[in-house]
């Protein structure tokens, strides 16, 4: 075992009303890839922010190579050899790669020199990147490389990576892992934050599992099973969604040559999308974020009108109909953004139940709202989907993300749809709630509903889809049966052709 690089003892940080980290201790050795595992809200982010000098701990101490380490600012952390790649990039679209890298440096060298160093580093670590390209033209994976190279130029001893693979295609993930292995061989320690268990099993040497701010276990991810780790994370036995085998029914939803120009100048226009969803079937639609997911949902919900025949429900052309007319026919949708799209933040849950339920639940008579019935509907959603809230009179924004998501999905499911379209149904939701939502979607399909699940979580899609297709720059790949699809095939469908070859990896 190598020497200890960073040791953390009893770190505690409390915010009003919540203890984010409670007496957290662990060590990272030189050249170790250490996983930090936990659900949303388990305290992973607070912990790494303390290591990176963004947040000051209330109690506890850290040592770096035996010396006390108390970074007051990220600058001090970088001086001590700690670098961090954030989940959200801080890059300027209008500047080139080299200019962006220079902006993050303490004493930036001349552009030409810097460009040469960027090329060197990118070749050494197998991260293909041209320093002269504009960041605005890069894919998400390439942008992440800019951030990583920016960190590597500082020669870090410890590299912190916050959910780095959430924006990558499988092929890009492979390139990243190659790079991380190389760094590890050179003695750089990596603190790797994720909730994707398979990744951690292939990459990490040790894992520290956090739940509700406390370390609940440390384990060797190479030997522990994914299920064991998941249960440690959640603190409960996980139910794997189950489904009954069934024969697919009639075609319910049919898209033929659906093209919709994006209303937003930074959006992605949909191009010639054709698909069929049958009764009782779950169609999973994958793809890297920003490839037309929002637009596809809007085109199906009726927010973005299309050519009438481009969208057909049971053979009826509905492309020109608005959201309420489609709801009347049984085509329901749940968008990704919970606050401000699927729900109005300052309105009560009762009022939010009316938002989409007014028509099918008959909450309106002669234009007048029937509040007692609306409240009853909200209560039924809360009851059936285990939404944790004091009552239907509470504002939507007072609910946690997961609870509001259960409400939003439950609201559509309880309206007995004929076809349901959901975008990112379990985004930011804890594992047990996510399992419940997936099970509800499968149950819905078992009742003969056609279900379309748009998601960026491939594991989720593989778990519940009968067929799988991927969006890439507004185009949809040919749907294929989900069973038996390999990761490589999925990657190709997602159009992960951005620099697929691992450039100049030579030992």
């Amino acid at each position: 075992m190598a020497d200890t690089l960073l040791s953390i003892e009893g770190l505690t940080k409390a915010y009003p009303g919540v203890v984010a980290n409670d007496d957290v201790s662990f060590t990272v050795s030189e050249g170790e890839v250490h996983a930090l595992l936990g659900e949303n809200g388990a305290g992973k982010s607070t912990l790494v922010k303390m290591i990176y000098g963004l947040v000051k701990p209330d109690a506890g101490r850290m040592t770096m190579r035996g010396a006390p380490y108390e970074p007051a600012t990220p600058h001090a952390a970088r001086q001590a050899g700690v670098a961090m790649v954030f989940q959200h990039f801080s890059l300027f679209d209008a500047l080139s790669v080299a200019e962006n890298v220079a902006l993050g440096m303490e004493e930036a060298p001349k552009q030409r020199q810097l460009a040469r160093r960027i090329r060197e580093v990118s070749e050494t670590y197998g991260l293909p990147l041209d320093p002269d390209r504009l960041v605005g033209d890069l894919s998400a994976g390439e942008r992440q490389r800019v951030e990583i190279i920016r960190c590597l130029l500082q020669d870090p001893k410890l590299l912190i990576m916050d959910e780095p693979t959430s924006v990558l295609t499988p092929q890009e993930v492979e390139i990243l892992f190659e790079t991380l292995h190389k760094l590890q061989h050179e003695g750089t320690a990596i603190l790797y934050i994720s909730h994707k268990l398979e990744e951690i099993r292939t990459l990490c040497d040790n894992a520290t599992i956090l739940r509700l701010g406390q370390v609940v276990a440390t384990c060797d991810p190479k030997t522990a099973s994914a299920r064991e780790m998941a249960e440690l994370m959640v603190g409960a036995t996980l139910h794997t969604p189950s489904r009954a085998a069934k024969a697919p029914g009639d075609v319910v939803l049919e898209l033929s040559g659906l093209s919709v120009a994006s209303a937003n100048p930074f959006g992605t226009s949909l191009k010639d999308i054709t698909l069929e969803v049958r009764s009782g079937e779950v169609l999973g639609i994958g793809g890297v974020a920003g490839n037309g997911q929002d637009e596809l949902l809007a085109a199906l919900s009726g927010e973005a009108p299309a050519r009438a025949e481009a969208v057909c429900l049971h053979g009826e052309a509905v492309g020109r109909l608005g959201p309420n007319a489609r709801r009347r026919l049984g085509l329901l949708a749940a968008p990704e953004e919970r606050l401000g799209h699927a729900a109005a933040p300052d309105m009560s849950l009762t009022e939010n139940a009316v938002l989409t339920g007014a028509i099918r639940e008959q909450l309106v008579a002669n234009g007048f709202l029937k509040w007692p019935e609306a409240k009853g509907f909200a209560e039924r959603i809360i009851e059936a989907f285990d939404v944790r809230t004091p009552g239907p009179g509470n504002a939507a924004r007072s609910l946690s993300g997961g609870n509001l998501q259960k409400f939003v999905i439950g609201r559509e499911i309880l309206q007995r749809p004929i076809c349901l379209v959901v975008n990112q149904p379990t985004w930011g939701v804890d594992a047990s709630a996510a399992a419940a939502i997936r099970q509800a979607l499968l149950d819905l399909a078992a009742e003969g509903v056609a279900v379309v699940v748009i998601s960026q979580d491939l594991d989720e899609l593989m778990e519940i889809s009968d067929r799988f297709a991927a969006l890439n720059e507004g185009r949809l790949s040919e749907p294929r049966p989900a069973q038996g699809l390999t990761v490589e095939e999925i990657g190709l469908m997602m159009g992960g052709a951005h620099d697929m070859e691992v450039a100049h990896v030579d030992g």
Binding site: V55, G302, P323, R327, H341, A344, T356, V364, W371, R397
Partner: protein
């Protein structure tokens, strides 16, 4: 050090308390202002807030209260619908003028025929239609060409003022007025007069219309789908689209309704307290109603109370000018303070104040 912490949901108690707090703070700050001007602050505040209601000449002032509050409430109710949905009609003053011109023109066209059952209702309709049509100009420009309704409606106020002058000097001028500008006095024309319904109270048809508007707006916002859509659009336009709201229709409805109500207010004013179309007929009700709408938290009952309060500061302000010699500008500054403080203390509804040292975050 004071820190603000966002509340998980808006505090109900504070949303009721802030208007009261704002009035109190305004009294204090206004008192200081009057003291600086060399007047007795306590006497000034008393003259503005107390004497019109309970002083020696209250019998006169009390009637004035409804006369002033009526049009303010009527206009503010209409504006509040749009404001709730994020549609900003700033030109109620113009719609008020056009409503008055149209209503008065219909009445004068029938002169000297005596048929109150026909003429007065026709005038009311003409007033509402006039205000509605004037508001349709920004509405159609917004829905067709995406122009800014704030600018268009505001600038149309100045067009309406020129039109008013032209009417008072030309088309609607009293033929028996020996060349003086201004129309015939509708108060002296029985079929067209908006008379006081109960003598000495200031209660006229415009006040009745204002009360009906308060009730109508309350029912609309709390019980009707359209009111729900208005509130939803104001809170999150994207969720509103998802809920099937048609934004253009809402723009037309909100601007149309506020225009019609402002037009009605103009008609009731010209046929009642003002009596005639004159060059300086409009007195800023359309702008003051914006303050009333916000002071009343865009809530119908709140607007009713705010309208009465602002009418009180008008009447009391005039009394203070007359008896204490306070400058008119000081009274206007005082009224402005009211809105300023209301918006300032509003922060307490959505945020909690924390006293103590800031944490390093």
């Amino acid at each position: 050090m004071i820190r603000l912490e966002k509340r998980p949901q808006p505090s109900r108690a504070w949303s009721y308390a802030t208007p009261v707090l704002a009035v109190i703070v305004t009294m204090i700050a206004g008192g200081i202002l009057f003291a600086v001007l060399g007047k007795d602050p306590v006497l000034s505040i008393r003259t503005i807030f107390w004497d019109p209601l309970f002083g020696e000449f209250a019998f006169y002032y009390r009637g004035q209260l409804l006369v002033k509050a009526g049009p303010l409430i009527l206009i503010a109710i209409g504006l509040s619908l749009g404001f709730r949905a994020g549609i900003w009609n700033i030109g109620a003053e113009g719609q008020y003028i056009i409503g008055a011109i149209c209503g008065a023109a219909v009445g004068l066209a029938f002169y000297p025929m005596e048929a109150r059952w026909l003429i007065f209702p026709l005038m009311v309709i003409a007033g509402a239609v006039g205000g509605f049509l004037w508001a349709m100009i920004p509405a159609i420009l917004k829905t067709r060409f995406n122009t800014n309704e704030i600018l268009v409606s505001l600038l149309l106020v100045y067009v309406a003022e020129q039109l008013l002058a032209s009417m008072a000097l030309g088309t609607l001028r009293n033929p028996e007025g020996s060349g003086f500008p201004g129309s015939r006095n509708l108060q002296q024309y029985d079929s067209a007069a908006n008379t006081e319904l109960i003598a000495g109270t200031g209660m006229h048809w415009g006040v009745v219309a204002a009360l009906l508007a308060v009730i109508g707006a309350y029912v609309l916002l709390n019980r009707h789908m359209l009111g729900y859509q208005i509130r939803l659009t104001g809170q999150s336009p994207r969720a509103a689209r998802f809920a099937g709201v048609r934004p253009r229709l809402l723009v037309v409805f909100c601007l149309g309704a506020s225009g019609a109500l402002a037009g009605l207010a103009g008609l009731f004013e010209v046929a009642g307290p003002a009596g005639q179309i004159s060059i300086d007929f409009n007195s800023g009700y359309g702008f003051t109603a914006i303050i009333v709408a916000f002071l009343g938290r865009l809530h119908p009952v709140g607007i009713l109370l705010a309208g009465l309060l602002l009418a009180l500061t008008y009447i009391g302000g005039e009394a203070a000018q007359a008896t204490l010699g306070l400058p008119a500008a000081a009274i206007q500054a005082f009224q402005g303070m009211l809105l300023f403080f209301l918006l300032a203390v509003d922060v307490l509804t959505n945020y909690r104040m924390r006293f103590g040292r800031a944490e390093v975050a």
